[in-house]
Symmetry: C2
Subunit: 366 residues, 2 copies
Amino acid sequence: MPSDETPDAKIEKLGKSIVMEIKKGENPSFTTSVRTRSNIFYDKKKGYLKLGDAQEERNFLNVAQSKRFMQTIAISAKCHKFVREKLHTTIRGLFYQLKFSLGEDIDENVFSEQSESNPLIEDLEVSLGLKREDLNLNANRKGVLAGNMKILDTFGNEKIEIDCTKQGRSGWAIPSDVDNDIEFVNVKAKYVIVVEKDALWQRLNEDLFWKKENCILITPQGQAARGTRRLIKKLSDQGLPVYVFTDSDAWGWYIYWTIKTGSINLAYIGEDVATPNARFLGVTMSDLDSYEFLNKLTINASEVDIKRAQEMLSYEWINKYKEWKDELERMIKTKKKLEQDALQGPRLTFVGDYIKEKIAKKAYLP
Amino acid sequence: MPSDETPDAKIEKLGKSIVMEIKKGENPSFTTSVRTRSNIFYDKKKGYLKLGDAQEERNFLNVAQSKRFMQTIAISAKCHKFVREKLHTTIRGLFYQLKFSLGEDIDENVFSEQSESNPLIEDLEVSLGLKREDLNLNANRKGVLAGNMKILDTFGNEKIEIDCTKQGRSGWAIPSDVDNDIEFVNVKAKYVIVVEKDALWQRLNEDLFWKKENCILITPQGQAARGTRRLIKKLSDQGLPVYVFTDSDAWGWYIYWTIKTGSINLAYIGEDVATPNARFLGVTMSDLDSYEFLNKLTINASEVDIKRAQEMLSYEWINKYKEWKDELERMIKTKKKLEQDALQGPRLTFVGDYIKEKIAKKAYLP
């Protein structure tokens, strides 16, 4: 990466261009992409949600924008400092730094609510072509990994090697930032399996499923955090097939589609976090035909499940697949759903056998 | 531990005593402690919430209890199997095993809702004098640790050594069960600091606070899970002082008091999970007197915060301390609260300095 493309240099460039405009007597401004629903598209060719071409200018000399403009510049100054100090914080920490330094200089507490700072950080991410993690702002982290790979984590001036086959019952906790000062080496696995629930991850980890199958075993522990989505994408980019294993219900499907196509909220970094090659392994409503015993282990679908299934039928990136239409319609019709935990019914180790069989038979959904 | 005290032996003993009663033509029964509010007490001498002496008998030949009795026996049979197989699952996995094996043999789905199985497992835990973790039932896990100690995790027929100074940005993820097949060795630290928020834990971890201060740095990531509470208790039993560092609000205080005195829900294992020696480091309302800058970083207390503070004033184990009465009354009066994140206001590294100073000055609350 050329040095003028580092976060440090990019923020400095923004600052210099604003100073230049002020010196020239011009109206200081910067450009960002429109992030409202009207500018979010599903890219059919690439297979993920992303922003369209609509741009907006933020101007200082504009009554409606002046306050926001000043706030954004204050945020970029803080992030510039964090990057140079090589220290990380969160949006909440940033909020308190701004409150601390601006609270007395100006007439009002411009950052009295954190909700004010969040969209401004997104402005900055988009405008600079960086992720907040590059600005040393940690997002919430969640997710655990085990399998035949190593992590080189440059941390506290040391390069720490973490062997993901030697993490025992715990697994390696996936951090917020998996791009800067961290490397994934010796990834010697055949595929990645993403398991919705930590409980099922623990079940499979205890069976050393990742060792026997030579795969990377990940749980996002529910909806995947930014760091986990990014990591899955990076492993996919290395050529590993990615299989997602969730409940057969609205929440499980949502987790899958978020990993695969990205989400509306993160469309502005869609390319970085979406894994269009991901496949849905199960559990599926059609498993009820292949695995007889599951029929007595279904539970009732909730109103939310059914409403959400109906919504999903309207998404072009879902309803183009007959298999998915069948799945969704079957739940709506039967008002039943199936949890991944149910696979433990006959015996605890059946979970792994199910995964192996589905992969061997290529019985997954697009 | 003598062999007749293993979970395996204890469950078997229960089973045998029931078979014996049946053979004698007696009414099969077992005894458990009453777990309703009326039998939960604060033990003044020991400093935690525990069950009183009231006992209940569960009988098979009792119209009101017959179904529950049968369910409890079915659960103990399943747990016995899990323990012998050396395989773990969760209550949800157990529920599906029961649904699988009882669903056809009997006329109705006795375990159609998981909420039915939970109190029965508690019955069994209390009756056998074991924790669910000893019955190979994993509870939710949450929490992360860094510091000068090692873990010996017997996992997959291997003894895996995990060095908690070599976990980089991630830390070691605290498991559900920290008693069986796991040891904590070479704990070479002066104290334990428990940090409410993962974000602040990451801040301190990045500063290598645990290394510089020679402490064990733990975050429960919010309310502490069973495994994390148990681990804190075990470290306290080794003679390490435990300091808890949370927000100064209802949620933060709740986290502290749950670690210190246990909770009503877990009173039945109070002795195992409560750490009466824990001290409350901050942030406190009285920090507003010692750290001038914090006054501009307070935020508004919510209705819930104030209502909860009023409730806490009525608890004998809290209102016996003048310092705590002052804290609670100050929030109620000013309707302001303070977050631990606010310590990042002047500079990101101030968080660690604050902790060091509070400990040095012994400026913590009981």
